[in-house]
């Protein structure tokens, strides 16, 4: 709501001109029948000159109306589109602030629908609803006053059916709101279904499940039809009813007005003018109908938009943040870290203690699902760790300004993600002003330089969505280069070598180690590969959320535990055969 209010406040200067223009137009529109009446009365008096004069008056007033209409439409639509733009960008910028957990709960497809589809409902209401509302107020009331002046009695009779409109309108309002909200929600769900089918298309095809996913989509599709029809049953009733009430006024006019004319209590000109007024009233009456409908739709959509705009990013600076912290060197201390995912009900990490000196390399290994990724994500504050559990250079991570924390840590996620952009842009993600030489250097360390150079467009090759046009190992190495180019004092690599062959793996390990040492970077690398672990200063073995072994690789080997067995399986057996 804040966005909209602040917008209305900021644009306050436009209210008076727009209102003035609308008032002027509505007033002029009410004036026209007065001249019609005079013209008709002139006809009965057979006064040709007067008739032509009033005719010309009408055309002059009409031209004025048209000019003003154009002007306020220009301003109003400009304003509404500006608000629409601000809503869209605020939504998008809000998404940029949200943490990972948010996107696990909210579907991206649905979030997209809020930006494109829901803003539309708001926009339509603001334009049509505003104009409609003003017309209801101005045109409706002035018309009625004019009618009242001409014939108080007839105008009251004529108004009776129109008054019935009010209770009707109120009753329809909240139902439309409810149904429209359902329609929008299901539209979001439909977007989600399509998006998922696209991302999972290879699985769907390989397992020949096209029909099943089509069926799932059709379910939502059918629901969408049903919800829309509920809305139609309501909306479709509103219009004819209003029409009916207006026509009822006309009957009353003919009957009662006719009798009054016969009794010589009003002139025929008044009757004609009244019939024109009812014609004029028809519009604001119809406007009541669609304004209600549009308003309720907009209310539903605005609710969905506000739900986003008003949600606070869970991971952000707060009053604990110590803005004196400007940079980090790289000591990482983890102190009895326990962690449970907000959505899960078991502890994933159960009392982790770790200490990494600046410039030190820590290897982490352990079974699938033991909590390695979780640990790295907590250091990065992708999720919030519990208080007083993770410290960098002695500062608790929760107190380090998020920007400082993130700008000092380089990261390759376990599942490499590339943007639909050039390879160069993908590598430079974290350092836009990096030179091409620096990009090449990073690519060299990640052992991807030769591959890139063999492509027709080299660094300017555009990769498909999520890097789909590259091989698994190519994607992974670009993700490594992307972290390396940042030269940040701390680097976290999550299983960075899972998709490369042993030869490439060795090359990368060697170069990476030299690079990390040379720049005195603190690094944590998770891996299942012993070849990567043996070069670490320190190795920790994580199992079911606990560190079961920790120490220098050689020491761990001597202990004869998990590490030893891993070593045997991957190294010794090979040599024995």
């Amino acid at each position: 709501m804040k966005t909209i209010f602040s917008f209305f406040k900021r644009e306050i200067k436009w209210y008076i001109p727009i209102m003035l223009m609308l008032t002027l137009v509505d007033f002029s529109q009410v004036i026209i029948p007065v001249f019609t009446k005079k013209a008709v009365d002139a006809i009965t008096k057979k006064n040709t000159a007067l008739l032509v004069k009033y005719g010309i008056y009408i055309i002059v007033i009409a031209s004025g109306i048209i000019a003003i209409r154009y002007a306020y439409n220009y301003i109003l639509r400009k304003l509404v589109l500006k608000l629409d733009f601000e809503l869209k960008t605020s939504l998008f910028n809000k998404y940029l602030e949200m943490h990972k957990g948010y996107f696990e709960k909210q579907e991206i497809g649905d979030l997209m629908a809020r930006v494109t589809n829901d803003t539309r409902a708001v926009r339509m209401f603001l334009i049509m609803g505003f104009l409609g509302g003003m017309d209801i107020a101005l045109l409706g009331i002035t018309t009625f006053i004019m009618m009242f002046i001409m014939s108080p009695m007839l105008s009251i009779y004529v108004a009776i059916p129109l008054i019935l409109l009010i209770p009707l309108a109120l009753n329809f309002g909240h139902k439309i709101h409810k149904y429209f909200k359902n329609v929008q929600t299901i539209f979001g769900e439909m977007t989600v279904r399509v998006r998922e089918a696209i991302s999972g298309i290879r699985v769907i095809k390989a397992f020949t499940r096209e029909n099943f996913y089509l069926k799932l989509f059709d379910n939502v599709n059918r629901q969408y039809l049903q919800e829309n029809m509920k809305l139609v049953r309501l909306d479709g009733f509103l219009d004819p009813t209003i029409d009916f009430l207006i026509n009822a006024s006309i009957i009353i006019l003919i009957l009662k007005g006719g009798i009054l004319v016969i009794q010589n209590r009003i002139s025929l000109g008044t009757l004609v003018a009244f019939s024109q007024y009812i014609g004029t009233l028809a519009w604001p009456m119809m406007a009541i109908g669609f304004t209600i409908s549009l308003m309720q739709r907009a209310r539903a959509s605005l609710g969905r938009i506000n739900a986003v705009l008003e949600s606070e990013p869970e991971i952000a600076d707060n009053n604990l943040t110590n803005y004196n912290i400007k940079s980090l060197k790289g000591n990482i201390t983890i102190n009895n870290l326990h962690f449970k995912y907000p959505a899960g009900d078991v502890e994933v990490l159960k009392g982790i203690n770790l200490f990494v000196n600046p410039g030190e390399l820590l290897g982490i290994t352990g079974p699938t699902g033991s909590g390695k990724t979780t640990l790295l994500e907590l250091i990065l504050r992708i999720y919030n760790p519990q208080e007083k559990s993770i410290f960098i250079d002695g500062h608790e991570v929760l107190k380090i300004p998020l920007k400082v924390l993130r700008r000092n840590i380089g990261y390759t996620p376990q599942e490499p993600f590339l943007f639909t952009d050039t390879i160069l842009a993908n590598i430079k993600l974290g350092r836009e002003n990096a030179t091409i030489e620096e990009a090449e250097e990073a690519a060299e360390i990640a052992a991807i330089k030769k591959t890139i150079e063999s492509l027709p467009d080299k660094y300017n090759t555009i990769v498909g969505e999520k890097g789909i046009t590259l091989s698994g190992g190519e994607r992974q190495r670009i993700a490594i280069a992307r972290a390396i180019i940042t030269k940040r004092p701390i680097m976290l690599f999550d299983d960075p070598l899972s998709a490369v062959d042993t030869d490439t793996e060795n090359t990368i390990i060697k170069r990476l180690r030299n690079y990390l040492r040379k720049n005195n970077i603190t690094a944590i690398i998770t891996s299942q590969r012993i070849s990567a672990l043996t070069i670490m200063d320190q190795v920790a073995v994580l199992s079911s959320g606990k560190i079961i072994e920790q120490g220098k690789p050689d020491e761990l080997f001597d202990k004869g535990g998990y590490y030893y067995h891993l070593y045997r399986k991957q190294m010794l057996e090979g040599i024995e055969t």
Binding site: I108, L225, G369, E465, L470, Q528
Partner: protein
């Protein structure tokens, strides 16, 4: 007009509901006629009864008007309901077709086209087209019939006055045609901006965590803002064009009113017309321009819809299919796979696979190894017929796979993709992919065989645990294990494993290894792996280098060769120092 081609293709969808549409048109005509009668009867009331002071007659004619109003009310409600029902049903059919069409497009299409664009097609564009039907085509018929009736009535009442009054109409039509074209272009641009907006959001939101960590929020925000700004400006231009059209029609409508008053007045003075004629003419003039004004309003909606329709039409024209043969072969499949002099390139003139010959008979396990980016996954893509080779053949049981229906032949295969994909839904749904033929026992048996059962039982609700979109709430290794179970419950004759255990720890990998041996007896296994320990026991190992087969043989033979395989193998055990 040039739009006729696009429109033509959608006609079958419309004719499917011809009865419904025919009835809505009938009710539309009924409601139009009754609404047309009201001013006509009012004229009669004024001229015949009010001016002659005939109260009895006035009451009678009022009853007639009342009947017309009642008929109008009921027929309008029915018409609105039926029209919308038809529109919504057509949209539902269209969405179904679009989704099915999308699922049928080749994998290559999806690596080229951004998913944001495809999503826009199936959701937003259809939504726009809906308006073409519900407020477009039928309303158009309504408007045209109102136009025709109004013209008919005024010519019936007073042909001379009628001829004068409709004088400004051709100008209105000309304006509609001229401005219409401009609007069409502008609205098409608006649609393009929506697509771009969706593409941006899809990209940014999918990679949001990376953007945050690498500090690229500002850049992403700028990119989106630029598109949203373009949308705002273009949309305003488009809207103002329709406002100009609307106001042109307005001024012409006022001109007609003045013509009625002046010429009608002059005629009345001369005794050729009556006041009643003028009242009726005023009402009909409003009805005459109403549809035109409506059209100019709907023009924007219509233009928007038409440009969406074009987009949909070209999406439906997309022919990037892997086509099925005309006379497909169906036979029992043993699962012998053969690649025969296969050449393949993703991009013209840069071959990815060169002269690949490979054989995997049922009951055998073959392995494909090699440097990253060598073309291993591409071979799997060809066996699944995600792509067709440029030359050479992929054969199953000695038959070119292009002679089978794709879905027939794929139903004998299963794959664990290098990029695992997990759907939103339960663990069980992810394993069966909605295939109801797979029993719970089968799922559990397969999961137990490969040691996944214990992991799944540790999850809060076991097999019924809900997994978030793209598996966001489970670990990477766990995602792989679930994909593994998925491949096995399908009991494939041919199992393709593309780095299926890359993220899994060595112990789990061993368990899977043992389980697989039993499960795959008599079937064909094709294993792609960088970790050579998993493929040592393969019956045949193919070593791929730069798209060619560099070596083949058993583990022992290849070691003796002391070439590429030897290098890759010994690399695993070399200590880096």
């Amino acid at each position: 007009m040039k739009n006729s081609n696009y429109i033509k293709r959608f006609i079958p969808y419309i004719t499917k509901y011809k009865l419904l549409i025919a009835f809505s048109v009938i009710f539309l005509l009924v409601s139009t006629i009754s609404s047309m009668l009201i001013p006509f009867l009012s004229k009669q009331a004024i001229d015949k009864f009010i001016s002659t002071k005939n109260i009895q007659g006035l009451i009678h004619i009022s009853i007639l008007i009342g009947i017309a109003i009642g008929v109008l009310f009921i027929s309008k409600i029915i018409q609105i309901y039926m029209t919308n029902l038809a529109g919504q049903r057509i949209m539902k059919d269209l969405r179904h077709i679009l989704f099915a069409h999308m699922e049928n497009l080749a994998v290559g299409f999806f690596s080229r086209e951004p998913s944001g664009k495809i999503i826009t097609r199936v959701t937003n564009d259809v939504e726009n087209m809906n308006q073409l039907l519900s407020s477009g085509i039928v309303a158009l018929l309504g408007d045209l019939s109102i136009l025709a009736f109004s013209i008919g009535f005024i010519f019936y009442i007073n042909p001379r006055l009628a001829a004068i009054v409709i004088l400004p109409m051709p100008v209105a039509i000309l304006a509609a045609i001229l401005l219409g074209e401009k609007m069409e272009r502008l609205y098409e641009k608006v649609r393009d901006f929506v697509v771009k907006m969706n593409i941006r959001m899809q990209e940014t939101l999918s990679g949001i965590i990376l953007i945050q960590i690498f500090g690229a929020e500002k850049r992403e925000s700028d990119k989106f803002t630029e598109i949203a700004y373009g949308y705002r400006k273009t949309f305003h231009k488009a809207q103002m064009t329709s406002i100009i059209l609307r106001q042109t029609i307005n001024i012409l409508s006022y001109t007609s009113i003045v013509l009625v008053i002046i010429f009608g007045g002059l005629m009345t003075i001369k005794g050729i017309a009556t006041i009643g004629t003028i009242v009726a003419f005023l009402a009909y003039t409003q009805r005459l321009y109403g549809p035109l004004r409506d059209l100019s309003d709907k023009f924007s909606i219509l233009q928007n819809a038409i440009s969406s329709m074009k987009k949909l039409s070209s999406f439906l024209d997309e022919k990037e299919f892997i086509s099925d043969p005309e006379n497909p072969i169906e036979k029992d499949i043993k699962g012998d796979v053969r690649l025969n002099h296969v050449y393949f390139s993703y991009v013209k003139n840069s071959p990815t696979l060169i002269d690949i010959n490979l054989e995997a008979s049922h009951g055998k396990k073959i392995a494909i190894v090699g440097f990253t980016g060598a073309g291993k996954s591409t071979i799997a893509n060809l066996i699944l017929r995600f792509y067709d080779p440029d030359s050479g053949t992929v054969e199953i049981d000695g038959t070119d796979i292009r002679k089978f229906k794709k879905r027939f032949i794929r139903s004998f295969m299963a794959i664990v993709l290098q990029n695992v994909f997990i759907f939103k839904g339960t663990v069980k749904d992810n394993i069966t992919l909605g295939n109801e033929k797979i029993t719970d026992e089968e799922i559990i048996r397969a999961a137990k065989k490969i040691g996944v059962h214990d992991f799944i039982m540790r999850l809060p609700k076991g097999y019924e645990t809900e997994i978030a979109t793209e598996g966001a709430n489970i670990s990477q290794g766990e995602r792989q294990l679930i994909s593994f179970a998925r491949a096995l419950v399908y009991k494939p004759k041919i199992l393709l494993l593309d780095e299926a255990t890359a993220a899994v720890d060595t112990n789990t990998e061993e368990i899977i290894e043992k389980g697989l041996k039993k499960l795959m007896e008599g079937r064909t296994s094709i294993v792609i792996a960088h970790r050579l320990s998993t493929i040592k026991n393969a019956d045949m190992i193919y070593v791929i280098n730069k798209g060619r087969i560099a070596e083949k043989g058993t583990h022992k033979e290849l070691l003796k060769n002391k070439k590429l395989y030897y290098e890759l193998y010994t690399m695993q055990f070399s200590q880096i120092n």
